[in-house]
Amino acid sequence: MDLSFVLSILVFSPLLGIIVLAFMPKTEEKSIKIVGFLATLPALIASVGLYLHYLWGKDLSDFDVAKEWITFGGLQGTEAGYWAVNYELGVSGLTMLLVVLTAVVATLAAIASIYIKKEWKGYFMLFLLLEIGMLGVFTAENLILFFLFFEITLIPTFFLIGKWGYFEKEKAAYSFLIYNGLGSAVLLIVIMILFAKTGTTNIEMLTGIMNDPNVPISGDLKLGLLIALLVAFGVKLPIFPLHNWMLRVHVQAPPSIVMIHSGILLKIGAYGLIRFGMGIFPEQFETLAVLLAILGVVNLLYGAFLAFIQTDFKMVLAYSSISHMGIVLIGLAAMNEAGVQGAIFQVVSHGLISALLFFLVGAFYERTDTSLLENLGGMAKGMPIASGFLLAGGLASLGLPGMSGFVSEFMAFLGLFEEMPWIAAVGCIGIIMTAVYLLRAVLGITYGQAHRDFTGVLDLKGVEFVPVLVLVALIVLIGVVPSVLSSPLQATLETIMLGLGG
């Protein structure tokens, strides 16, 4: 059976929702929200379909699509296939997991959008556009297409933050736009240099060409390109000195968008480093490994220590994201199977955990109008169920065995201890700090001293249970049966390891 249409439908299915929404009157709050939610479902179903396809032991390359799209230059007499940019989508084990993660988080974030108070029509149209961008980023098989989707995520996010965010929303939207704009500008330079030098942007072909010793591209240029990639994706991830924008976004954006932002958009940075950095420039990646490990530890510690002194729960989580992305870097820097696997696990696991925590932040804010730790004390009394889930999310985040966070941290550090024991040893302080700041914040909210009277505040109800239950279930599932992630990853990891020469 020809399955090549599946990915196109998967990626562009939210478009249907946009079109339907365009013809709806903008005052129909309830039906707009329902349509917005329903429009995320086809992608979810299709992505689960991908996973099942894999489980049944079939080949993921069944889904590959390639159609002629753009020719550049149109130089007559050039080799066929070169200077052409095709419309190419495909999935591997790694990208399949990320697509599933994206579809799940997007659907749950659509549910979390019940908290949106105004202009639902515009909100959901942009939201769905953002989903198209995210799904496309992970399925694109060439760099130009990747870049196209990458930028498609930029514009809706700008508006979603700037219009539906909190007090300093416009400032947050601008710093998002400019930081990420610079990041993608650097990325575009890399892509265009690769394109001009090799005549293709297909990722697989590029990997082959760049690692062919006969191709006359100097090691210096490759190193330069890799460093540029590191900067480009370092903005997204974010890596330590480039993180300021992300704090603002986490605090100012509406919770449903932060779920997506923290859950998926940051992961594009990690994905880019793995797929392009490690995949296309393995040799140069090795020379930067120590630097990456140090950057990772800096991220981990910096995030953890600053999270400890924050007074706003959103800021705690924002710094916690920085800290956890440090673990991704640590895993990648190890450059062995355990490390890389740990990094990918961390990507998925943190996506789920931060989506859960930010959903709860939104739920609390909805009822109390605050996210300050001080004001939230003693929530366990008013909202026992929500507090219970918060505790679960916190424990997952600090890496309690049996939950997804533990597996990823354990493997990432296992990898790094093998290669650079000293750096890893320093990094371990971060793990302790993670427990300290998370417990401080979470316990402060649940059992801390109450400064306000929360009687009459309603607990989670109805549809709000869907996101928390789904997310907690997935977190525990990965923690208990890590093979749901590790077995699809096997093939991807082997390819990467082969490239690394190990």
């Binding site: 002629e68 799209w69 753009i70 020719t71 550049f72 230059g73 149109g74 130089l75 007559q76 515009g122 130009i144 870049f147 196209l148 930028e151 498609i152 930029l154 514009i155 700008f158 508006f159 700037g162 219009k163 416009e170 601008y174 736009l177 400019i178 704009g181 610079l182 500008a185 650097v186 575009l188 330079i189 265009m192 240099i193 394109f195 001009a196 030098k197």
Partner: protein
């Protein structure tokens, strides 16, 4: 020249020009004999019809082999055809804006000029695209310039419009004089004004002393034409002129006039200095020797255009700087001179034509509604008219060069050109990308106004003139179409223009 010789020419290749010149004359006469009270708008529609007729006749000549008449002074090659399409399309859209334009103090008394001067300006541009001689190039340039001078000052009771025309005339004449002085050096060295003859003489130039003289000529011509393109540091006139001129005229200057400017630069630079040897036959042409200078001007133009645009509070001034910046991007292609040079420039101008004219259509509409051109007038446009705001949003995103729009593909072409070849221009391309990011600030500044800010008054836009509707539909559709399926353009060029290979024959 005998009569027989005159009739033996294949005058058919000038059909588009004849149509334009004929209709321009017709409108002039009609204007004289029309009753005073009669609405002159009909003349604008006749002008639009003429442009479409010219386009159709041009399309009929697509397959024809390059031909030239009048001793090579007028040649119709693929370069000429391709750029004539741009000029005609741009002028048609501008005329649609013009028939929808209403000035505060009324244009009734001189409405006729307002239409036929666009046509004569267009004619000047068309002659430039097809000229094979310095003299015809110059005549075309002057025809375009003088029409533009009058158009800029056509609101004769408006102070800003007067200032705008005055500045434009003075700056423009100086620039023309400098260009002409440069051309005289070329003539002095080669004894001919015919581009091909000049090229033949210069290819064989053996004396290095002559190369210096030519270098001087190059700089003077480039400086003079730099005024026309509004390239830094010769851009000062643009913001004032753009601000003061009526909006359709501003649109004309920023698109048609700019396209024509690049046409003449390409004609002179490539066919004269692109082949002129520096040290004897076969050595590097002067144009390549001068690459660094062009690069500096391109970089300065991009930086100044984009950075100064940040500080503008008037939307027309902002678009003046934005158009300076876009000229800078195109100059990058002139610097790098890749094998796809013509296509790159042609596509960028095509994309720019649609993006910019669409934006000007909305500016004109908002200006008519609020009576001023402050950026803050766009506040709350989304609430007042969601369709207009979204259309403007798409056009701005295209101008900023986001993927999925024609602006992005245009920029990619330029980048690829910059990174190809023996010496990739990393620095210049990096400046271009960095300044593009700077441009996000001001393009998104308008977005902020439109989507985030509350409106000063909530009145809706009713009765949008039909001309503006046409322009908006065409420009928004084209900005997206050429961004998603750019192969339409490249296939068109490949099929009809054979890679512009007949440019130098």
């Amino acid at each position: 020249m005998s009569l027989e010789e005159l009739t033996s020419y294949n005058w058919g290749i000038m059909t588009p020009e004849f149509i334009i010149v004929g209709v321009a004359a017709l409108i002039t006469i009609l204007d004289l004999f029309m009753p005073k009270k009669q609405d002159r708008r009909i003349l604008g529609w006749i002008g639009i019809a003429a442009i479409f007729a010219a386009m159709v006749s041009l399309a009929g000549m697509l397959g024809a082999a390059p031909d030239s008449i009048l001793e090579d002074t007028f040649r119709l090659d693929s370069f000429g055809k391709a750029f004539k399409f741009l000029l005609l399309a741009g002028a048609a859209l501008v005329l649609f804006l013009a028939v929808s334009y209403k000035a505060d103090e009324g244009l009734e008394e001189y409405r006729g000029e307002f239409y036929y001067l666009f046509l004569t300006g267009l004619l000047g541009g068309m002659i430039m695209t097809s000229s094979g001689d310095l003299i015809t190039l110059f005549i075309g340039l002057e025809l375009l310039s003088i029409s533009s001078y009058i158009l800029a000052g056509i609101r004769k009771n408006n102070l800003q419009s007067n200032e705008s025309a005055m500045k434009y005339v003075i700056n423009g004449s100086i620039a023309t004089a400098i260009t002409l002085f440069g051309m005289s050096y070329v003539y002095g060295l080669t004894g001919s004004t015919n581009l091909l003859a000049i090229a033949r003489t210069l290819q064989a130039l053996a004396d290095a002393q002559h190369a210096y003289l030519l270098g001087l000529a190059f700089i003077m011509i480039f400086v003079g034409l730099g005024f026309k393109l509004a390239a830094a540091p010769f851009h000062m006139w643009a913001p004032d002129v753009y601000q003061g001129a009526p909006t359709p005229v501003t649109a004309f200057l920023s698109v048609v006039s700019k396209t024509a400017g690049f046409v003449i630069v390409a004609r002179i630079m490539i066919s004269i200095f692109g082949v002129a040897a520096t040290e004897g036959p076969g050595s590097i042409p002067i144009l390549y020797n001068m690459q660094d200078y062009i690069a500096v001007i391109a970089a300065a133009t991009m930086i100044i255009g984009n950075v100064v645009a940040l500080r503008q509070s008037n939307i027309k001034r902002m678009f003046a700087y934005s158009s300076i910046a876009h000229a800078g991007y195109i100059l990058v292609a002139f610097t790098t001179l890749s094998s796809n040079f013509f296509y790159t420039v042609w596509f960028y101008l095509l994309a720019y034509l649609f993006m910019n004219l669409g934006a000007f259509a909305i500016i004109q509409l908002v200006e008519a509604k609020t009576g001023s051109t402050k950026i803050s007038d766009f506040a709350g446009l989304y609430r007042r008219s969601p369709v207009l705001a979204v259309a403007m949003g798409i056009l701005l995103v295209a101008l900023a060069g986001f993927p999925g729009t024609a602006g992005f593909i245009g920029k990619l072409n330029i980048f690829i050109g910059a990174f190809m070849g023996q010496e990739p221009h990393y620095v210049l391309a990096s400046i271009m990308i960095a300044t593009t990011v700077v441009s996000y600030f001001y393009y998104f500044g308008i977005m902020t106004q439109m989507f985030f800010r509350p409106a000063a008054d909530d009145s809706k836009f009713t009765k949008i003139p039909v001309g503006i509707v046409v322009v908006l539909i065409v420009t928004v559709a084209a900005s997206i179409l050429f961004g998603v399926f750019p192969d339409i353009a490249i296939d068109f060029v490949n099929e009809n223009f054979n890679h512009f290979s007949d440019f130098l024959q």
